[in-house]
Symmetry: C2
Subunit: 293 residues, 2 copies
Amino acid sequence: MHYTLVLLPSVPALFSSCSPAATEAMETFEKRKAETLASMTSSSPDKSPKGSIDEPIIPLLNTINSHPSYFTTSSCSGRISVLSHPTTTTSASTAKKKAKGGKWVFITHHKADPDSLLNLLFPPTSEIKPPTLTDPSDLVLRFEPLIIAIECKDVGSATKLVSLAISCGFRESGITSVSNKRVIVAVRCSIRLEVPLGGGGEGILVSPEYVRYLVGIANEKMEANWRRTDGFLSALVSSGFGGDEVEESGGGQPVNGEAGDEDSWIKSEATDSGDQLNLLSNGKVPDENHVGK
Amino acid sequence: MHYTLVLLPSVPALFSSCSPAATEAMETFEKRKAETLASMTSSSPDKSPKGSIDEPIIPLLNTINSHPSYFTTSSCSGRISVLSHPTTTTSASTAKKKAKGGKWVFITHHKADPDSLLNLLFPPTSEIKPPTLTDPSDLVLRFEPLIIAIECKDVGSATKLVSLAISCGFRESGITSVSNKRVIVAVRCSIRLEVPLGGGGEGILVSPEYVRYLVGIANEKMEANWRRTDGFLSALVSSGFGGDEVEESGGGQPVNGEAGDEDSWIKSEATDSGDQLNLLSNGKVPDENHVGK
């Protein structure tokens, strides 16, 4: 499937029935959108150190940007990473560790190669450590799913998008900002891993076997994240995004990205079994069991 | 500091300048609020298996509920848990594991006692396993921070609350639903742990030493979560919540819950160093480094 970026000119005539203030706000929206899309199609690198948009997410971004009420301001398609926090021991008797920034020693937006990570964490010759791991550092392995920030023309447009995203499994989506000028939506969900590995004064506290197991789970989560992303894209298309005639109402049938999903991690997240602190559509936190202490 | 729950009667006269539809919506808000607060103060257990509100969160809930534009619909003060997913091997050659529900084998809303968890995961006499761990199960240790769902009188009230929550470090907050009747805000942040421990066919894949290390980190995160919660409560009070005269504008100076915080985990989350996939206030995902594969 191929999507073409559509640059939308400022069309104040469309808003002639609005108040001057509203018209001005919308003109500004159109202007910001045109500028943002122009920078996306520019051949020069963007402001991130990576310098470009994650390739797997481009069809989704183009589809969102094809709708006159929305444009994407930033995104990540999902990633597996190991972050290193250099640690130093303070002179206090409590010997508390203090972070002084952090850096990635491993990052991929694709599935991770377990051997690459194992070679990094457990180098074959222990005397030759990779430069990134020469200092004692607390290491954390993470999986983080898709996240997109989207500016919306108004609160109504934002509400429709949040509702669609939540129905596709991006249940931590929400309107994060509303001002006279800008309405911002974040699309996100809770498919995550956050695993401290040790690595400071005490050395790495997990085994190579365990790291291989973790990478397997991280890769399953990446696949689940991609399936959910595909489901969101399908739901947007069903709602009229990306077509020649955009359906302003944003209706249509949301597609459940997890239908028929055999992945146990996703099952556990997509159901309302109460094992995640997600909110249900009625604004309730799922019931809690109170088993232990 | 003591807060008293204030039951607010339906006061349609206050909204006499509104349209009939808006008045009706607000009357419904007042009615729902009165019913919800009445159920909170009832001596009978609530609908959750735990049956009651987490004690540490009660001052915060009372403060939010003291404002005429808001009421809390559900909450969790933060928790450390181990979830068990029973696993069975399918007949397929891929031997994929399939989740059939899950249950908590450990949960606390306070700091966790490492010895309790160690005794559960590594019972002193290996022949006597606790009933919860007799079947092969994938175990996941989690820390999940404060989450509150709040119904707001209108989008303007919701926006102010989201803005205040984000300024206090609850950067994953947002308006999750807007309809004619109900506007729902979720207050949440990304202080988390999600650590698979093994426990299925392959047995537990981590050492007791590592579990003790994890519990230490989970307890640090619980403390950080409480500090952030306290900061949010202070910011609400500074904005006029909880006082005799509620300031409808919701202004005031937000308190940064992490000021002077020496906790390395929180430093890493509260700064914009790009190690978390949070959105900045300008709607941008923090810059990404592209280090590895």
